[in-house]
């Protein structure tokens, strides 16, 4: 057991901290001091400027190889970067669905041509990727997707509808699951496709999330012709018919480590403590200490997980426990903040916005009810 960062890791932290401090201040000044939400059209454009800054500083995807725009950072350095990112108060990443959900699958299943053609443009925020998985009748039950891809000369004909697509109205590309074998059921016969959203026959309509921002979209496919070469290296990720396997590799990322580093929750917990330091209500004070302990526990659990991964283990169903913990922690942190704010809690502001966003955590990436089933069946071995 060794819980101390090395000198190299501390140097990496110092470099990240210094860069973030300067660049965050500059970007905020460019936005007139207060950037709009990244889930609005105007705010999204501002956030793209931030993403391009990150890319130019080689901070957009620190753990990627240098050839794709990263800096080949270790998992430990990635954790350190995330800590510094959130501690500094940097904005949510509008590119995150590409960088954290699609990219791990591209690294695992993509051809060298796909990797070369897609990853660097993704990190540079030139191509903006959204996730096309959920459908009106396929939420937690993802294997019931009905959107179809029919093989035709030189490409695929797409039909169907995706929905609850985060930032779909602002993105340029979609990665999604389509049923390519019309006689197949459930998780068989699905193909993982990479789709430019300007393909004729594709229509995107944005709509308001709980907080009113246009952060959601539904995407309609009406006989859209997706040419095989519409994306560099080809539009199929993995093999046709193997989409479920590729998609499951991505859900591992979404539920577990890559999407939700502890840094975000630690930073929120620190802000909460600053708020709670002024209360003389014993109950609220204890709740604040408890919420901080839960954020810290997520950090400790992550350090133990990263140790296992660094020593060669593969992410497993424990990712379901991580997802349960961070999503319920985020709700706990924000709910307590609102309780501390009292009558100000109903005003629009960072905490009320954060509260509404936190409420999505137990729903997306597989509802927490599904995660509890997965944990019980695959970790504890309870009968299905």
């Amino acid at each position: 057991m060794d819980l101390i960062w090395s000198a190299e890791e501390e140097a990496f932290r110092a470099e990240a901290r210094a860069w973030l401090e300067v660049n965050l201040a500059e970007w905020r000044a460019e936005c007139g001091g207060a950037p709009a939400s990244g889930d609005t059209r105007a705010g999204f454009a501002q956030h793209l400027e931030w993403e391009r800054r990150l890319f130019e500083g080689r901070w957009a995807a620190v753990s990627w190889p240098e050839e794709h725009g990263g800096r080949g950072a270790s998992l430990w350095e990635w954790l350190i970067f995330e800590e510094e990112y959130h501690r500094a108060g940097c904005p949510p990443r509008v590119t995150q669905n590409g960088i954290f959900l699609l990219a791990p699958s591209i690294f695992e299943f993509g051809t060298p041509e796909q990797q070369a053609g897609i990853l660097r443009r993704m990190a540079a925020a030139e191509d903006l990727w959204c996730q096309g998985w959920s459908e009106p009748d396929a939420g937690s039950d993802l294997a019931s997707v009905r959107s179809t891809a029919r093989r035709v000369e030189g490409g695929w004909l797409l039909d169907g509808q995706k929905t609850w697509t985060t930032r779909g109205a602002f993105c340029t590309h979609l990665f999604g699951l389509f049923r390519s074998d019309p006689d197949s059921e459930r998780h068989r016969g699905l193909t993982y496709l990479l789709v430019p959203l300007d393909t004729p026959g594709v229509t995107v309509r944005g709509f308001g999330r709980l907080d009113g921002d246009e952060g959601f979209a539904e995407v309609f496919f009406d006989g859209a012709f997706l040419a095989d070469d519409a994306v560099p290296g080809g539009v199929v990720l993995g093999e046709p018919g193997q989409g479920w396997k590729v998609a499951m590799a991505t859900t591992g990322s979404e539920r577990g480590l890559t999407l939700r580093s502890p840094g975000r929750f630690l930073a929120t917990a620190e802000r909460l403590l600053a708020l709670a330091a002024h209360t003389d209500d014993q109950t609220l004070r204890r709740r604040a200490a408890t919420a901080w302990m839960h954020a810290d526990a997520y950090q400790q659990q992550t350090l133990a997980t990263v140790t296992r991964l660094a020593e060669g283990a593969r992410p497993g169903p424990e990712a379901s426990l991580s997802k349960l913990w961070w999503s319920e922690l985020d709700v706990e942190l924000h709910r307590l903040a609102l309780d501390l704010l009292g009558p100000d809690a109903e005003l629009e502001g960072p905490w009320s916005k954060g509260w509404q966003f936190a409420l999505s955590g137990p729903i997306y990436a597989g509802t927490n009810e599904i995660q509890r089933n997965i944990a019980a069946e695959r970790l504890l071995g309870l009968p299905r």
Partner: protein, 327 residues
């Protein structure tokens, strides 16, 4: 950075877990309920002593293993898993670093007024004002108390107990504070072990027990209870291990880290006990099933060495030093 047990630590824990599986089955715990005061069977205790568990924190020069809390805490967790009735926390974590490896079976009132295995001890480590003193059980007035967990074998100091003649161990406040932190952390590790044991027993039971023609563990409501226990354990164990590291390396946040460990272990074990009883149904609500041995130890230990409110306040005071918790 490497947050995992070393191969040595892992091997030590596994060896002790194997020993306890053989030498401390539930019948041993039940025997501790029945034995008259002063007659606690010591076979498993002697085995633990023989394997060095009681002298982990004693310097090599004094005949100990000269290791630190990161070795001992996982072993104590294994003791919790077996619901070991002997005072391994009081002896190995608290007394041994102060009194050496050959102090025998030592217990203490540092964790609260109910002194576990008091009449069975070779020595008592007691508070006298702000100091710690040592006395033989026969030399001080003890009054047995009836505890819910019969294996606690607890007694209280009589109101007129006279400690003036007792031998001084230390009156250094830092030493006393360290002893209390070690006791709280060791108890947190016991609770993590108890929680794991209750989870394992319940998973086995709901897999085997059928109602409505199917295993009750196939029902979602049952699954979710147990998933919540697994979730809490997954995030409590690292906090307990981190506190062991903090004590071993004397980091400035060690007291806060110990309190976080005890507060979280209290809540996790209480949750595990509640879920285990509910998922066992009526069979768990008997003294014939072994589960009650674990439930009752959990209820005792969540309040010993500081309850959740006490430790949460200590964390709050460390995190928000500008203001203080109300007394």
């Amino acid at each position: 950075m490497r947050f995992a047990l070393s191969p040595d630590q892992e091997a030590f824990r596994e060896a002790i877990a194997d020993l306890l599986a053989r030498a401390c089955p539930p019948t041993t715990v039940r025997a501790a309920w029945e034995a008259p005061p002063g007659r606690l069977d010591r076979s498993v205790w002697e085995d633990l002593a023989g394997m060095g568990v009681l002298s982990v924190l004693v310097p090599e020069a004094d005949g100990g293993l000269g290791l630190d809390e990161t070795y001992l805490v996982p072993v104590i967790e294994a003791c919790g898993r077996a619901a070991l009735p002997h005072p391994v926390v009081e002896t190995a974590m608290v007394a041994a670093p102060l009194m050496g490896a050959d102090g025998g079976l030592v217990t203490t009132d540092l964790g609260g007024p109910n002194i576990p295995t008091a009449a069975d001890a070779d020595a008592l480590l007691l508070r006298r004002g702000d100091a710690l003193v040592r006395v033989a059980p026969a030399e001080v007035a003890l009054e047995p108390v009836q505890t819910v967990d019969g294996a606690r074998r607890a007694a209280r100091l009589a109101p007129d107990a006279d400690l003036r003649a007792a031998e001084l161990v230390s009156d250094d406040p830092a030493v006393v504070e360290r002893a209390i932190d070690r006791g709280a952390l060791g108890t947190a590790a016991m609770l993590v072990g108890l929680a794991q044991a209750m989870l394992d027993q319940t998973v086995a039971y709901v897999t085997q027990r059928h109602q409505f023609g199917v295993p009750v563990g196939s029902f979602q409501a049952v699954k979710h209870h147990l998933a919540d226990v697994a979730l809490a354990l997954e995030h409590t164990r690292p906090v307990v291990w981190r506190a062991a590291w903090s004590l071993a390396h004397d980091v400035p946040t060690r007291t806060r880290d110990v309190s976080a460990a005890k507060a979280m272990a209290n809540e996790t074990a209480a949750r595990a006990a509640r879920a285990a009883l509910q998922c066992h149904g009526a069979i768990g609500y008997t003294v014939e099933a072994d589960l009650h041995l674990f439930l009752k130890r959990t209820w005792a230990l969540t309040r010993a060495w500081g309850d959740t409110a006490h430790h949460t306040d200590r964390v709050a005071d460390a995190l928000m030093p500008g203001s203080r918790s109300h007394a």
